[in-house]
Symmetry: C2
Subunit: 328 residues, 2 copies
């Protein structure tokens, strides 16, 4: 089967590509070709099948037509302008997150039969705040443009699925933790930074209290969920193509305790309180927990591992590369 990963140059896209290259199969069937597409052509991946690496704009129909050739059976649509950027530049967010998804649909409609489309939506498409435990049928009232654009994309792809144009699954990813890379300006940056930076031997600032809770998943688990969504039986989804996968609702204090268990008290001591009311105001609106019953009980999505394993997953999968990339 032929697979295209849009946003294949990002950290999740690259992890997914490497995993497909390692497995050589998806859902019991051999992978015959892989296209990685991003703004810049993603680096090549060593695989037992041909890999094309293309650069282009996801909102450009011609670029997408090249990225989604007629034999494509699965499209993983990770290409997005992330939350902080979509908030800073409304038009760029609309262009990539909304018009990009419209272009993905247009390219998929040109295929001879409906492709599986796996769309990464987000926990940011919900409101609710710290007190919330959101059921699977919770209404999406996003408090940010990124979440609004993702919720619009979900509606578009669900309708296109109902019409038989595609066969879509929208996975509302939790805050992916521990993210490799560097601290950035995203309000959620600290969630990864308070684990990653101490594991690199560097200090990190904690802008919220230790009782603050966040809905998280590891990159490893996110890749498992994407692989599952790429091959799952979609009949049990019915009309609602959005999935809240079984992430983990974690208190910051518990994340730091896990850090200490895995890396010792010196690592834990590198995290210093630095209350930031602006960050707290933004992240305070995000829901901290979901029931995720449908994904668990009926759709076969695997459970996020406990916190100690989440920390160890970063050490095993990403620490060495992150150290090298950051010149440490």
């Amino acid at each position: 089967m032929s697979i295209t990963i849009l946003g294949g140059g990002g950290f999740l896209g690259a992890k997914l590509a490497r995993r497909l290259a390692r497995d050589g199969r998806l859902g019991g069937r051999p992978v015959e070709a892989l296209t990685l597409f991003d703004l810049q052509p993603p680096p090549p991946v060593d695989a037992p099948f041909p890999v094309r690496c293309l650069g282009g704009d996801v909102s450009d129909p011609a670029a997408l037509a090249a990225a989604i050739p007629p034999e494509t059976r699965v499209v993983v649509h990770l290409a997005a302008v992330v939350s902080a950027q979509a908030e800073a530049d409304f038009d760029l967010g609309l262009k990539v997150n909304l018009h990009g998804t419209l272009s993905v649909l247009a390219a998929c409609r040109a295929l001879p039969s409906p492709a599986r489309v796996v769309f990464t939506s987000s926990v940011a498409s919900f409101g609710g705040g710290q007190g919330a435990l959101l059921p699977d049928d919770a209404r999406q009232v996003p408090g940010n443009s990124y979440g609004a654009q993702k919720a619009m994309g979900e509606l578009l792809l669900a309708d296109a699925t109902r019409r038989g144009m595609v066969d879509a699954v929208s996975i509302r990813l939790p805050t992916v933790t521990v993210r490799p890379g560097r601290p950035n300006k995203a309000a959620s940056s600290f969630v990864s930074a308070i684990l990653r930076e101490p594991l690199l031997g560097l200090p990190a600032e904690l802008p919220v209290g230790e009782d603050f809770a966040v809905w998280i998943c590891s990159p490893r688990r996110a890749v498992e969920w994407l692989l599952h969504a790429m091959a799952m039986d979609t009949a049990p989804l019915g009309a609602d193509r959005g999935v809240n996968p079984p992430g983990l609702s974690a208190r910051v204090g518990d994340m730091l305790a896990a850090l200490e268990r895995v890396a010792g008290p010196d690592a834990r001591a590198l995290v210093r309180p630095a209350p930031d009311p602006a960050v707290a105001a933004i992240v305070g609106g995000w829901p901290a927990a979901f029931t995720a019953e449908r994904a668990r009980a009926r759709l076969g999505f695997s459970e996020q591992e406990p916190l100690d394993e989440l920390v160890r997953a970063f050490v095993e999968d990403d620490l060495k590369e992150t150290r090298r990339d950051r010149g440490l």
Copy 2:
């Protein structure tokens, strides 16, 4: 104040325009100018203020810039491809219902200060079916492209409101009954036809059973809601700019009993059962009732009048004109 009605040539837009012309005021302030915009220039309205009648495509930015001049304070966005048409032509629905709303937002962003935008969304943006009593925070899982596109428009305008670009209210109109005009191919056509046709002395077919319930409002009530939304204090809406107004959940049997009370048993006898499983399958997915608590208790939307008054409203407001338009 300057007002623009997009879709000003439709039956609701025309009624709203005539009402503004009669009142000369909105929310205690004088109306200074009115622009009516539709695919074809709407017929002029006799008013104590200047009225411009423009023709154009709602998805054309230049046409919208002309329709929404800098002094505009209120935009009523009724322009839409309706449900049956959006289902028959996916691209046309996207063009008008989604890209049209994007163009409305673009035109409003060019205004010197945020305009009130009243957007007519629809009960069709929900699923649920006959058994449902939908709360105000019900998730929108539309079973048709029209509803999906309306829900996307709601998300866009709510986000634009949060960003201070507009001040939007999205009213999810029930099935407007009694609609003037003729029976058409819309699955909901019978809801008006079983009242309108007998009042015109003509037969009508009933494709569902008498126990079938539908969430309705009169054109008169819809106009009151639009006027209220055009001038209301929007602060109590908070982040969720969608409103389920207090319509009426009516059984078909009760609608026919009201017809008989208003127009006699001969009128009632003109409605003949003609079960149509295809129509029943479509309309069976629509929710038949909403709590509408927020609109009633906190937002000041008026209550739909009982069925006898709904029937009499058509006789008083629209029977003569409908008879003339149809050459009866």
